[in-house]
Symmetry: D3
Subunit: 233 residues, 6 copies
């Protein structure tokens, strides 16, 4: 259940019987023709759908993440690593204070990985709590499904093109973009990253039929739900 659709009394009631919750981690960054909020939309939505039948609360998505390499694409905003780590710590501290003990960080953006490091550090300081850092899109079952649909899927390609991430009046390009060399990309400053990436897609076609996308989505929701269910070690 989305915390934005709950009040404090309802959260308190919930905590009498359970101690799990989900915090979606997103990003505001270029996704080629798709919404700048792809990572926020998807992490929040997969979390919400996964948690819904379990009645586990899903907090509002953290809409900004770590994405320095996309800084030359206007509309992208990147938090510094140290800011992001402080932000996630404050959220975890607040959750623990309220009584949450099993926390899923449902992450939608690879660049947010320092939140996983922080999570491990925070659990060492808060040994009564558990934090699971979950990259929803490349967890085993979901990634297998991606590969089954099309072995070439990447940032801003078809695999992020869902009915809820594409923009009205913006058509997906035709053609299959060759995969970018990621090793090289990670060496380059933002202006060169942009020049190399063109529209922002890392590689692959821009769209697959919604039927396939919904099948992929189902896998992701199920896999995320299974992690919420546990075990939690």
């Amino acid at each position: 259940m989305r915390v934005s659709e709950m009040n404090s009394m309802q959260v308190e009631d919930y905590l009498r019987g359970d101690d799990r919750c989900v915090v979606p981690l997103g990003s505001t960054e270029q996704h080629a023709q798709l919404s700048l909020s792809v990572d926020s939309i998807l992490s929040e939505r997969v979390a919400a759908e996964a948690a819904e039948p379990l009645g586990v609360p899903v907090f509002p998505v953290v809409a900004y993440g770590i994405t320095p390499y996309f800084k030359a694409f206007p509309g992208t905003l990147s938090l510094r690593v140290e800011t992001y780590v402080a932000l996630v710590r404050d959220l975890l501290d607040g959750l623990a204070l309220a009584g949450f003990r099993r926390i899923l960080l449902c992450n939608g953006h690879g660049g947010n990985a320092p939140a996983a490091s922080l999570g491990l550090q925070w659990v060492a300081d808060n040994p009564g709590c558990r934090v699971r850092f979950h990259n929803w899109w490349n967890a085993p079952a979901t990634w297998a499904k991606v590969q089954q649909i099309d072995t070439l899927g990447s940032h801003a390609s078809w695999m992020e093109n869902f009915p809820w991430t594409r923009l009205a009046n913006v058509a997906a390009p035709e053609g299959r973009k060759p995969m970018i060399d990621l090793g090289t990309l990670r060496l380059q400053p933002p202006a060169e990253v942009r020049q190399r990436l063109g529209d922002g897609n890392f590689g692959g076609v821009y769209r697959h039929p919604d039927e396939q996308m919904l099948a992929l989505w189902e896998v992701a929701v199920a896999e995320t739900r299974a992690l919420i269910e546990g075990p939690w070690a």
Copy 2:
């Protein structure tokens, strides 16, 4: 226009002709019977409606703010002042890098005031930019309208009870709660704040007819729009 409904090319197009944008600042905190996201919902929505006819982009709401006094109300999450200041600085740095020069921080939560201080500091370091910190709910025209409807309005009372902040299946209580003494409240630690506040409303009735609320909303949207229009000094 919401940035979540734009892609990077569209932001770049926009920046060729304008340099304004809006960043809504929210909070996830108790609002009595209302949504825990009241401050996020309202700041983002008022910004979006105000900016829409101007074509000015509205970035995703910062859903977490500074709200230590509500920590004893489960579901509330508070960022530390130093974290929040770092977060807002990173956002401003990113906006300036992209080419934005006139930035409205559309704030929905009084506790976020250090963002105003940071804004002044940041402009001193970035003299080509302008930052306007705007508390949408108590700006002059909006507050006058609040007072016209009911002189007693406060946190979590009727004045935050809009069709888009109230929860399905949660009825607004009857009765007019007397105003809390704010000076005393600011002295108290969270557990005592909670005890004193009861359901979280600071004072006033819990609901006024939607007709009045929509009239209030219109004033707030218009006042926010005027600030986006400028002048920007």
Copy 3:
């Protein structure tokens, strides 16, 4: 009593019977023709006079505050928000360690407002303590007295021109400066702020007779004393 006129044994004696203290918060910043230390002088003095008959210790003024907008006026020094917040936290931590439980931050400069935010956060982390943030010059009774004397009073105008803040051999200008538009001022970078402000006075005449100033001072001392007396919630 000023802590600078006490030794540690005397503070210890005091703490056997009371747990209140005052920390004045000042600033070193332009005040037109007046001393650059106006905010420090006034906050420390009003605190000392208020506390004297109560025997409550007044710590040395924090002589530097947050004042980025005045950076183009030489002699002004501004701390960053994050530095200031860290500074105030360290002081509060030290006071609590010594046994103080009720702490008045007697503030002389509007820009120091993040200390109020920090105070709320600190009390949430130190629930046995109370922190009251007090802007001495615009507390209700003092502000009413200001208005009674002259409805136009502002930064660096007559209302800060006391026998103990004016400089020897510097005459107060004649004339009544029109009030600056504060909304515009808050948008401008330091160089423009300076250009707009001229000598630094925000608006109003530069001097009222000392008789009136002493009457104002009496109100401020009495109001500050009342806050030290309590109640403390």
Copy 4:
């Protein structure tokens, strides 16, 4: 060439003709029967051997990393994420100031991943420089060689047992430890991690013949050398 075997004049000479360098990133943490410095020893040595024929300077290893999960194993010391990020930034700043432009972070410990995030951020702020973050032990060729020797290799197992990481008078245990479930491990606080891990090996036999280890080493040195050679994008 090791910087510890150079003086400043020699570094200056080198910089007249080249701008590459290597900084090894290690850790001081439990490695079962092996040295607590395994990650430092290996990252520094593989870097030194790889760089030697190229004449590229290798700075002293950063001997402490991020390893909170091993905190219950005495002798382990973990830096906080924010400290580590600040440390690596200072080193990169210093290297750039001296004239280095292509920097290989040769990492020996998975937990140090936030240095990769920082590297991307730093390059965005220093677009004339390149930073390559290289996990020497699981780079493609090296990992393939590991798998060729034994498909079960992990932290503190045979794959870290080199003549230069094993301790005098400490025998490698017999037997093949089953692989630990990493997903579960990442959920657990340090005391439980220790209980689950026993001696600290994550899984696999404790030793393979040195002939095989030296063959593995050769692959790692060659692969690391190739990255120093470039291309650097």
Copy 5:
């Protein structure tokens, strides 16, 4: 000249012909029977008297320093090292912005030494500026004079007992306290430090005749003045 007795126009005038200034660094900490502000009083006063005939501005004393070992003496407040370093940096940044280029940090408390480290770092980042860190009480000539008066002088003994640091109605004890072992003291936590120190004096008699004290003071003022005069390298 004290900045508290100047306004911004006067500082600006001064900067047309000179670029030197002094920032006194004090502390609020136990000094046995003497004022808790000894270090602030003396550093500010020696600076002011030294600078007066030169017309060099002396900023308000930083009244709080680093003094963790005295935390068990009530009335002592200690800033954390990282806070203090941030504070001094902000002041230096502000001075440089205003046009000061030669800055004397006139320090009155040994524990503030990290300000000297920060000063060196800051000059490396601001190569057009000079920062001199000056411990006024143990500079060569002053210390020689101390030794000439009495070879046993220390924290809170006679050598800090000036007419302007002793308290009304508090008599100096008789007797010559043996010198504390400083090496041991530096190992102890605050409660043990207090137990060992008793009244706080580190060693020596509590008072010498004012004639001698004024002679010492003259030496200190002259030595400080000479440093302000330069050369500044």
Copy 6:
């Protein structure tokens, strides 16, 4: 015993019977003709030799310190004061968690002095622990021995020229360099420091016979050992 030659079980065994350890603090910075790692080599070696007969563990040297003034000498890397303080705190926190209670920081570089300040602060926060900050090269007995050999010894002169710090194929210059004026040096930015220092030696001859050096070394090892033995207050 060097921790790099121990495993976690051995550290745990040790902690059953003792709670002392040593952390050497080094630096990577110019030392004229000598190794850039002089301060790391010497602090780690003196610690290891001192601790060896006592069986006290010596952790890996912190190879980077605070040395901004040498930034213009390539190969020098300097950590910011705030980074260094955070780093040392993390190490102390980790040592305390493991059960160490008496910690010797064996320092090889004068610029690392803020670690001493941090140590005092940390002990105030961890009153069950003891931290001794030891500058091995200028401790009383060692410095007396230096003076006995040659009254002019300094940074990068003969007194740091040991068989284990000089470089193969780099001859020590002839001649006795006059001592640099340290007061002036501390005022200068890095480029001027370099110009003034020439090869980096602060003053003195470049080499004394190894017989004398080994005699000096013996004194340093003995003095360091005595501090490890205690008393620890």
